[in-house]
Structures are given as C-alpha cells and as structure tokens.
Amino acid sequence: MLKRLRDRLIDLAIVIFGVSILVFGFIRMIPGDAVAIMLGANAEVTPERIAAIRTRLGLDLPIHEQYFVWVSNVLRGDFGVSIWTGRPVIEEIGHHVWPTLQLTLLALLTAIVLAIPLGILMANIRGRRGEAFVQAGSVIGLTVPPFWLGIIMILVLSTVAPSLQMLGYVPFTTDPIGNIQRLILPAFALSLPIMANLARLLRSTLLEAMQQDYIRTARAKGVPARRILYRHALRNAIIPFVTSVGIMAGYLLSGAIVIEQVFAIPGLGRLILGAIAERNYPLLQAAILLVTCSFVLINFLVDIVYTLIDPRITE
C-alpha cells in the first residue's frame, strides 16, 4: 500500500515535471510575439521599443534559462505578473478559478446524481422492450455537442421565459440565488455527456457484475433481488465508476472552455483563450499548469480513493 503510494507519487512528480516542460515549451513555440501583439496593429513601433519591452519581460534570455527562471519562481510560489495588466498572475487566476470550479462541480454532481439511477434503470431494462430507445437516448446524450445544446437552450428559454436572469455570472457570495440560477443551464449542458457516459458505464459494469459468479452465490443464499442489486452488484460496479469520474474531470474542463464562452461565464477557459490570443505568457503558463496539475492530482486522488474502496488493492 505504502509502496504503491510512493510509486504513484514518484510517477506524479515525473508527470508534473514533464507537463511543466511541455507547457513552457509549447507556449514559447507559439508563433506571434507577445510584444508585437501587445503594441497592436496601429501602433508606432520601433525596434528599440520592442527590445526594451522584451528585456523587461525577460523574453530576451535563451529559452532554457527562461524555463529555469520560471520554474524556480514557481517553486517559490511566484507565478509572475500578467503582461497586460501587471496584476499578479495568481490574482487573475484566482478570479477565474471559482466560476469554473463551481460550474464543473455542479455539472459533475448533477451528472453523478442522475447517472446512478439512470444506469440502474438502463441495466434493469436490459433485454426488455424499450432498451433500444434508452440506449439510443444515452448515445444522443453522449454525442450532443454541449455548446450547441447551450445555444439551443438559450434560444428556447428566451422565448419561453424571456425574463429569466440566466446569463453571465454573479459570485455566490454576492447573490447565491442568482449564482445558482445562472449556473444551472450551463451546468446541465456540460453535464449531459458526462451523465450519459457515467450512466452507460454503470450500466455495463452493473450488467457485468450481475453476471459474476458471486451474484449467483448470493441468489443461492436467498438474498432478495433488490438487495443483490444494491449490496452486491452496485458496490462492485461503483469501483470503475469512481475511477472514471477522475477521467471525467478532463472532459469537464474541455467542455467548460466552450460552455463558458456560450454562457458568458468568466472562468479559466475564457482566461486561457484570452491569454493565448494576447500571448500573455506568464498568465497562460500558470493557468495551463494549474489545470493540468489539478487534473493529474484529481486522478491521483481518485486512484487513492480507488485503493481505499477496493480492498483487493490494499495488499
């Protein structure tokens, strides 16, 4: 158990190191110069002026030195300042983290809460009439583009309930009801594919669990069907379910990038897209590093949880 944990931690460190190199290298390879973009198309630009700004931003150093400067600063908790606004990057990210966090958590929660009964239903309907419909429905749920769904929902809702305040974002602390009200639609659009995915996963793991020999043993014991489902099958089926929740975090972040755009939510996705367009290197590096590391961390945690709920791994 401890060794497993240690191994996972080593892997984690390697991966995060790799991620940091990739993030840095990637961003620096993006063509287009921060300074040129910063000065805009209409500006009077002299080479000296560009050089001066480059020096100020530390962009004149060789790339590996820039990387070491960056990493050593990051390790000291200093992510630098945003090129454009001069604000500390941490602060900028801090503003954007909450909406995304809220949105993704809400979506994840919705997905999980709905996926479990749906998955059970789908497993139960196996072999009966209507299965094809439920199956097809779940595939639609999985493949409907969330942003398109979002737009259609906005379109429909604006005709059905035009006065509903559902756009934009207000912090939960200022207006809890307004906050939830505005997040419900995007969270739903975002959660639909995940819900479908999880429900389908649960269905197949449940069906698989129901085929296992130990279910037969339970039936031979005279355990009633409901109890078999909940005590025996579901508890086994939920293990892969939990692991895939970690993977879902990735889908969620991907989906959030687009959904934030549609619903005007000031989250990390918008921050990152904006930062790319502006070549705001420090901001972009920090934001992507944050997202990837948290994704890696989530999966690490899920792995730990997995270890905890599956007694077989503890050995």
Partner: protein, 477 residues
C-alpha cells in the same frame, strides 16, 4: 440602478495612453477620461477640459485655457501640471504609447499658470486639435507609472471607475463632482462582458442587459421588429480594405491593382458580409463629409470584370495569378474574404485564404508577409493621422511597402497646411492618387448600431465608438 451594458470583449487594460483596442476605448473614452479637446457626434472639435484656446498666427503656438473646477476622481484638482505630465507620459519611450506620434509636432510645453498650457510646435500641425481629443488627461502622479492605470483608471469624466472583475464586468458610478452643470443621470454603468453574440442578444431581449453598444449589422437586424428594443445607428469610421503588398510581383504593377479594384463589387460585399449594413467607400470614410470624395470620382468603383481583364492584359500579366489573402480572423472579414475570393476568381486571380490566429495575423501583417490582406481598421477623423503613417514612403504602418512621390508631397503639404479649403484640395488629390492604383482596394464602411431597451433615453451613437454620451443618458422606469 446602474445601466447594464453588454460588450463582447474584455478590455485588455484601461490605461488610456497604452491601450488601442476598441474593447478598452469604448469603456474609458469620454466616460472616465477626457482630453483637452473633444469630438461631438458629428465629429466636430469642441472644447473638452480646455474651455478655449488661441492659435498664434504662425500656427506654431497653441495656448489652452483649462476649465475651472475640474477634479480627478481621486479628488485632486486638475491643473496644468497634470496636462503636461499627461502629454509627457504619452511621449515617453517607457510608456510605449501608440499615441506618441500624434504629438510628434510638439516641440515644447509651457505652463505659465495653473490653468494655462502652451504648446510650441516645431512646424504647423493641422491635426493637432483632433489628436488632442484622444489624449486623456491623467493625474501627474502617474507620469512614470505604467501599471496602475491599466487596472484602476483615474480621470475627470462623468463616471468614476469602481471595480473590474476580469471577464465578468467593469463597473462605473456617476461622478457626483463632475465639472459640468449637467451631472450624469445614471447611477452608474456596468459593462458586462459577454462573448457569445446569441447570449448578448437574448440578454437584451430579456431585459437583463439594457444596451448593446457598437454592434454590427448582423446583430442589429436581429433586433429589428423585436419589441422593447430601439436601435441607434451611424456610419462608422472603421473601414475594411484589401491591402496589397506592392513589393511582390505582379502587384508592383499599378494596372494589376487597378484591375483588382475593377473586379471587386463593393455592393455585394456590403450585402453579404455586412448584411446590408454599410456603404462602399473610398480611402476616407463617407462620414468625414469635409474630406471624403463621392465615389463617382473613382472610376474603378464601378465594377467591371471586362475592364479588369483588359487591364491585366495591358499589363502583360498571365492569368491565373495565384496569391494568398491574409485574413483578419473576424467574422466580417472572413465573410469579405470569401466574397472577394469569388469576385477575383472571375478575372483569373486565384486567392487562397490564410486565416491565422490573431497574434499570427498581426505579426505577418507587421512584417509585410502577405500578398494581400483583408482587415478592419479603426479610422480617425483626421486624414493626416491615417494617411501619413499608412501610405507615405517609410510610414510606420506602411506595410504595403508603398512609395509614391506625388502622394508623399501631398501628405507633407497636408500636414502643415491649416487652411481648411486648401486641405480639402490636398486630400482630394491624395484620395484620387490612392483610390484605384494605390496599395489597397478600399472596400466598405460599416453601419454601426447600438441596441437599447426602449426606456433608455438620451444616448446617441458616435462614429468613433466612443460612449461619451452616456453622460447624458437616462433610464425611465
């Protein structure tokens, strides 16, 4: 309650001397900041923070008298020292202000007393007064500070900056100490940042937002007939054009450029790419009624594929010509690019569209790495400001690598000439020089709209996209 405005883009900063983008400009210009002079909505120069000014006979000395009782939002009174500091700030290398060139003619600045500022010019400069409209006066303490104003602007305008939640909203409140008798009627203004067009639209329809400023024809049309929404419109200064790299054959040949002009049907572009909301235009915006020549003056603005082909033949150029069109990644320019692509194909110019991401576009554009480009540029009210740096040999944004001695002479003269009639003459010649054989095919000027709820009163749209009339706007319940 404050006025809820929805805008597309988050500003990248709010320092009036640094930012260039419309997204920043429309929020701060005339609302938070004011210049010594100002523009009314008909583009006339009117007094701003300077209540009056005298111009010496040799046109090289401008004496401005500052308005009494003007205070910055921070509470300090505005004095001539602030004005000097502001101008110096713009000129300082360290600031990197794109406005610096507009003060190129200023030789020295004097402040005889707290309420007088004297500008000594090295040579007469016709555009000076209009240039000053865009140079905001900020407190002197920011002279060497290039960071603070980006986040927390401090001006003299009718609205005070309250807060900026990145990607959410920028909130302004009415300036109770505003110098004008007429204080703003609004309690404040909230600029909500809403990137998705459909979302902004729904928001206005539902009343969550009360104003969508400076929108294009496509969106405006979708409000037509919608209950509870009114539209304000004006022709804007921003223009779209096809730029041509004259250092690359066959575009070094003026006949080829003229052929391109003949091949383009500007009415179709207006209809398709601008959804009918706009007008064809030459080198200057038709909104500049003083200067702009009527289109009939430019023969090549009457589309004719035959003429175009004849010109190509005359030039001895083999078709098809293959070229790449660098496209500014915006919906309207993408639309224009596609229409132009089809139109030029008819005369044997095969364009390949290259639609890079914005950063790449700017880089390629700046380094003249294109055969042709299509972009949308903000215009100015002063022809010199635009023509000189764009088309004069060696001009700072002469990415076309264009060089025309006749034009250079005209532009030099126009810059120093202060007599309006003569200037009109000079710029008429310049327009003729540029229209058909210049390094660009001038295409269209869009119609600019502002959509508001019916109960918003007193707002009038400006061709420059400035929202300064918010000061006189009110909302009836």
């Amino acid at each position: 309650a404050p006025l809820q405005v929805a805008v597309e883009q988050s500003p990248s900063g709010l320092d009036p001397h640094i930012v260039t983008a419309f997204s920043s400009f429309q929020i701060i210009d005339g609302t938070i900041y004011e210049g010594l002079t100002a523009l009314d909505n008909d583009l006339n120069i009117v007094p701003g923070l300077a209540s009056e000014w005298q111009i010496s006979d040799d046109k090289t000395t401008y004496t401005f008298t500052l308005r009494e009782g003007v205070t910055f939002h921070g509470g300090d009174a505005m004095t001539s020292a602030d004005v000097v500091a502001s101008l110096n700030r713009v000129l300082a290398e360290n600031t990197g202000s794109p406005l610096a060139s507009r003060l190129a003619a200023v030789d020295s600045i004097e402040t005889p007393d707290d309420s007088t500022v004297v500008l000594n010019l090295s040579a007469p400069s016709a555009p000076l007064l209009s240039s000053l409209t865009s140079i905001a006066i900020v407190p002197a303490k920011y002279e060497d500070d290039t960071d603070s104003l980006q986040r927390a602007p401090d001006g003299t305008g009718p609205f005070k900056f309250v807060s900026w939640q990145p990607d959410v909203a920028i909130t302004l409140e009415a300036n109770a100490d505003y110098w004008d008798e007429e204080r703003p009627a609004l309690e404040g203004v909230v600029f909500n940042i809403v990137p998705e067009a459909a979302t902004r639209q729904v928001g206005l329809n539902s009343g969550q937002y009360q104003m969508l400023p400076n929108i294009d024809g496509v969106m405006a049309q979708q409000f037509q007939g919608a209950g509870g929404v009114q539209l304000e419109e004006t022709l804007e200064l921003a223009y779209s054009l096809i730029g041509i790299n004259v250092s690359r054959p066959p575009f070094d040949n003026a006949k080829v450029r003229e052929a391109i002009n003949y091949a383009i049907n500007r009415d179709d572009i207006v209809a398709a790419a601008l959804f009918g909301a706009g007008v064809p235009g030459g080198p200057l915006s038709p909104a500049l009624t003083n200067y702009a020549l009527p289109l009939e003056e430019f023969g090549c603005f009457t589309p004719s594929a035959d003429k175009a082909r004849a010109l190509l033949e005359e030039a001895g150029i083999e078709t098809p010509i293959e070229a790449t069109l660098l496209v500014l990644p915006r919906d309207s320019t993408k639309g224009i690019a596609q229409v132009v692509q089809q139109q030029l194909a008819a005369i044997g110019i095969d364009l390949e569209l290259d639609i890079p991401e914005i950063g790449q576009f700017v880089q390629n554009w700046r380094n003249s790495e294109f055969d042709m480009f299509v972009s949308l540029n903000s215009g100015t009210i002063e022809p010199d400001d635009y023509f000189y740096r764009t088309f004069r040999t060696g001009g700072s944004t002469n990415v076309f690598k264009y060089s025309n001695e006749t034009l250079d002479a005209l532009l030099d003269a126009g810059r120093e000439e202060t007599d309006t009639a003569k200037r009109q003459e000079i710029y008429a010649d310049a327009q003729r020089e540029l229209a058909c054989q210049g390094p660009a095919a001038f295409l269209t000027y869009g119609q600019l709209y502002t959509a508001m709820r019916d109960n918003v009163d007193g707002y009038s749209i400006s061709p420059t996209r400035s929202m300064r009339s918010l000061g006189g706007t009110s909302v009836t319940e």
